[in-house]
């Protein structure tokens, strides 16, 4: 046989050919309608996306114009806001590129084929870097769109502004991509790739949590109220943090603000693009030196270390007396969750979310010395139910919604065994809902105490959150089964699917309905309390609470019933 390789012919595949399996697959996925998926799926997704973008634009525009109109320092404040937003983007991008680079450069399925091919290392690096940057950045770029549009409208950026914005965004996306890939490359050369993945997952979650806490603790809302500062020095100190003139986020915001305010200063543009170019060159040099050894290390055996054997024994003892099928199913779900660092580390993010939530409630300017009307406190405590409900729904989306999808590759075992789908759903419901219920009750009780809500409101809030959590558990599990993602290996991506959107829409609709129904008896109770009449509840009040409870039962039970039917007829 005569060898005939690209090297021998002197030709190398171009960038489009090299990346074609990825973009062609993405196009095919976009065109393909999964079996059983509703026809209006694409339209619903587009409408939801546009509504989100419109809402984000509205909020951004209001904020930007508010800052812009502050006398004398308006422009400075708006520039500061853009710099902070870009700094947040940069931090997120750096973290997400770390994880993406590990997957695209070291763990992807196409690597065996690409590494075995006589492919020029520079092209390989650029193709994989491009893939990493796109994977990590598309969501940030989408989030930047309404923000930049708001700046463009507020300052009348002109028709060239989109190109200027692209000119600022592209290097801002490339720089963290190169840094993330380089750090991953070094880490893989030190640790085995799978251990690196655990490590990176944990570091990413911790860093993301720290970033959210840091940004929240900075209390950016104070910038809008300069009168709240004791003196000008304090205000200026806050204005200076947390930026630095050597950060690419500062150059990008400087470049855009220069364009918007008609300042001719080429320095930020030059700094951005030369840094991005230099970063790519240095990244490529590092890749050439370390990639082969790193890739070889990544092929080493997976982790065989078993974590948490002591807790395993405790859980086993707690479940004694259960039928073996249910007990082993619960144990299996607990083991697979706590042994997978990409799963359990999300709990850290959850902790941060809860902390920020409690901080926000505490930061409400309610008890600053003046007497606050009971009506206002009750109203906020009542509306807090909505906020708590939304947090519960988001947590259910992340932890309960993917439960059945994660069985995907092992479904052959479950479907060929005499396992009753209802038993499986019951086990998953139990594992998901019990911790969620504890969290929901704890969160509601503590926020009500922080708000100094009345006993009546505490009771209403607790009963509501219990009913809602039980319903949300069923809804998440049921919708997750009806819109499964059996091919997905990443649990965090499953809630971002179409089914995840359907679940969140239904969860919010249920929350709205429950709160609307309860508003009637709560208002009646307040009126009675203000009039000094004895607190009690009439038939309408009981009826409203009963209807809310019935709605929760239906919302939790019906999806589970449909899910059980779907599982009985499932073909995998």
């Amino acid at each position: 046989m005569t060898p005939s390789s690209p090297d021998a012919a002197g030709r190398q595949p171009d960038f489009a050919t090299l990346t074609s399996p990825k973009w062609r697959s993405a196009l095919a996925r976009a065109r393909h309608r999964p079996e059983g998926a509703p026809r209006g799926r694409g339209i619903l997704l587009t409408v939801a996306g546009l509504l989100f973008l419109a809402a984000a634009f509205g909020i951004s525009y209001r904020t930007v114009t508010y800052f812009k109109e502050v006398e004398e320092i308006g422009q400075l404040l708006a520039g500061k806001l853009l710099g902070m937003a870009f700094l947040a983007f940069l931090s997120i991008l750096l973290l997400s590129n770390l994880v993406s680079a590990l997957s695209t450069f070291f763990l992807a399925r196409d690597l065996d084929m690409l590494v075995a091919a006589p492919l020029d290392w520079g092209r390989f690096y650029l193709a994989k870097l491009g893939e990493t940057v796109i994977h990590s950045s598309w969501m940030v770029a989408l989030l930047a769109l309404p923000l930049l549009a708001a700046y463009a409208v507020a300052w009348d950026g002109g028709w060239l502004f989109p190109f200027v914005a692209l000119g600022a965004l592209i290097p801002l996306l490339i720089i963290p991509g190169v840094i993330g890939s380089a750090v991953t490359l070094i880490l893989v050369n030190v640790f085995p790739a799978r251990r690196t993945r655990d490590l990176l997952g944990l570091v990413t979650i911790l860093a993301a949590g720290a970033l959210v806490v840091m940004l929240r603790m900075l209390r950016p809302e104070q910038l809008a109220r300069p009168e709240g500062f004791q003196n000008l020095v304090d205000f200026l100190a806050v204005l200076r943090t947390p930026s630095h003139p050597l950060l690419p986020s500062e150059w990008a915001s400087g470049m855009l603000m220069n364009w918007l305010t008609r300042v001719a200063d080429p320095l930020p543009i030059a700094l951005l693009w030369t840094t991005a170019g230099a970063a790519v060159v240095m990244g490529a040099a590092l890749h050439r030196r370390l990639y082969v050894s790193g890739f070889a290390r990544a092929q080493e055996g997976a982790d065989s270390f078993v974590r948490g054997t002591r807790w395993d024994g405790v859980a086993r003892r707690l479940l004694v007396g259960m039928p073996p099928m249910r007990r082993e199913f619960i144990l299996k779900d607990l083991r697979t969750f706590f042994r997978d660092s990409t799963q359990w580390s999300q709990l850290i993010l959850l902790g941060v979310l809860v902390m920020v939530y409690l901080f926000n409630i505490q930061a409400l300017p309610l008890f600053t010395g003046e007497k606050v009307p009971v009506l206002l406190v009750t109203l906020i405590a009542f509306l807090n139910q909505g906020l708590a409900g939304f947090v519960i729904a988001a947590i259910a989306a992340r932890f309960i919604f993917p439960a059945v999808s994660l069985e995907g590759r092992q479904m052959w075992l479950l479907r060929s065994s005499p396992l009753d789908p209802i038993a499986m759903l019951r086990s998953k419901y139990l594992v998901g809902v019990l911790p969620l219920l504890l969290l929901a009750v704890g969160l509601t009780y503590s926020t009500n105490k922080l708000l100094r809500a009345s006993d009546f409101m505490v009771l209403v809030s607790l009963l509501t959150v219990v009913c809602y959590t039980l319903a949300i558990g069923g809804l998440a599990l049921g919708i997750g089964t009806l819109f499964p993602q059996y091919d997905s290996e990443n649990a965090a991506q499953i809630p971002t699917s179409f089914g995840g959107l359907v679940f969140m829409l239904l969860a919010v609709a249920l929350l709205g309905a429950v709160i609307s129904l309860e508003a009637l008896p709560v208002v009646e109770h307040l009126r009675a309390a203000q009039a000094g009449a004895p607190a009690g509840m009439d038939a309408t009040g009981w009826l409203a609470f009963g209807a809310a409870a019935a709605l929760c039962v239906l919302a939790g039970w019906l999806p589970l019933r449909l899910a059980a039917r779907r599982l009985r007829h499932l073909e995998v």
């Binding site: 046989m1 997976a302 007990r327 082993e328 697979t336 075992l413 479950l414 005499p418």
Partner: protein
């Protein structure tokens, strides 16, 4: 033990399996043979209760797999062609979980697990996560899983892929002994020597239809191919032939 009557499986307009009738008795080792995409895996998965037939009936041990799936599945052990297991469970935990799916646990299961792990030489990796197992080790683990609850019928899709010669030999001996003790095995394979040396009867599937069924000698006679090798017999029965200019392709 396995009975198929006029079984058809359609995906939209495409018929993957068309009107299959098949009876496999107790103690029989039946081999299913056919070209890629002929419908073997679809048939096996329908018998295992993973896919539902579009029409026709399937019985395992006298129990209809659609009307009484729990009773039918309790009698069956299924070994798929791709050994997907829970990466974050140890081999022992995965076996224990599988036994529990069949309602079994306790000392009897623990003892049987140890025996099976010993048989497949997995004991040293018993308490290690399956993500560190090789393909062959995973394959052996899912074979152990199919046996842990002592099924009456084993349905196995391409059992030898990924197994080393020693394990393949062990598996052949195990299936033979299992059928001698009254168990039933339905296996699909592309390894013609297994079909010839191990199976009591063979079914040939081509384009979704069962085109031939019987002992190897019966198939030879029906195809007027006395003395022909298994490869030639297979090509003759499935109507397949190789007509490519390989020289042009390889130079």
């Amino acid at each position: 033990m396995i009975r198929l009557r006029d079984v058809t499986k359609r995906y939209g307009k495409f018929e993957a399996v068309r009107g299959i009738d098949l009876d496999i008795g107790r103690g029989e080792l039946f081999g299913l043979l056919g070209p890629n995409g002929a419908g073997k895996t679809t048939t096996m998965r329908m018998i295992a209760g993973i896919l539902a037939p579009s029409s026709g009936t399937i019985e395992v041990g006298g129990e209809d797999i659609i009307r009484h799936p729990m009773r039918a599945k309790a009698r069956l052990g299924f070994i798929p062609d791709r050994p997907y297991v829970y990466d974050k469970l140890t081999g022992a935990e995965f076996l224990r979980f599988t036994a529990a799916l069949y309602g079994q646990d306790g000392a009897v299961v623990e003892e049987r697990m140890d025996e099976l792990l010993e048989l497949f030489e997995l004991t040293p990796w018993k308490h290690e996560l399956t993500e560190s197992y090789s393909h062959g080790m995973r394959q052996k683990l899912i074979i152990a899983c199919a046996l842990v609850h002592k099924p009456e019928v084993i349905v196995v899709d391409e059992p030898m892929i990924g197994l080393d010669p020693k394990s393949a030999k062990l598996l052949k001996t195990l299936f033979r002994r299992y059928t001698e003790l009254g168990g039933t095995v339905l296996m699909s394979t592309h390894t013609l020597e297994i079909i010839e040396g191990l199976c009591d009867r063979v079914g040939i599937i081509s384009k979704g239809e069962l085109v031939a069924c019987g002992t190897v000698d019966e198939l030879r006679r029906s195809a007027s191919a006395d003395g022909a090798g298994m490869e030639e017999l297979f090509l003759r029965l499935t109507g397949e032939h190789i007509e490519h200019d390989l020289d042009a392709l390889l130079t």
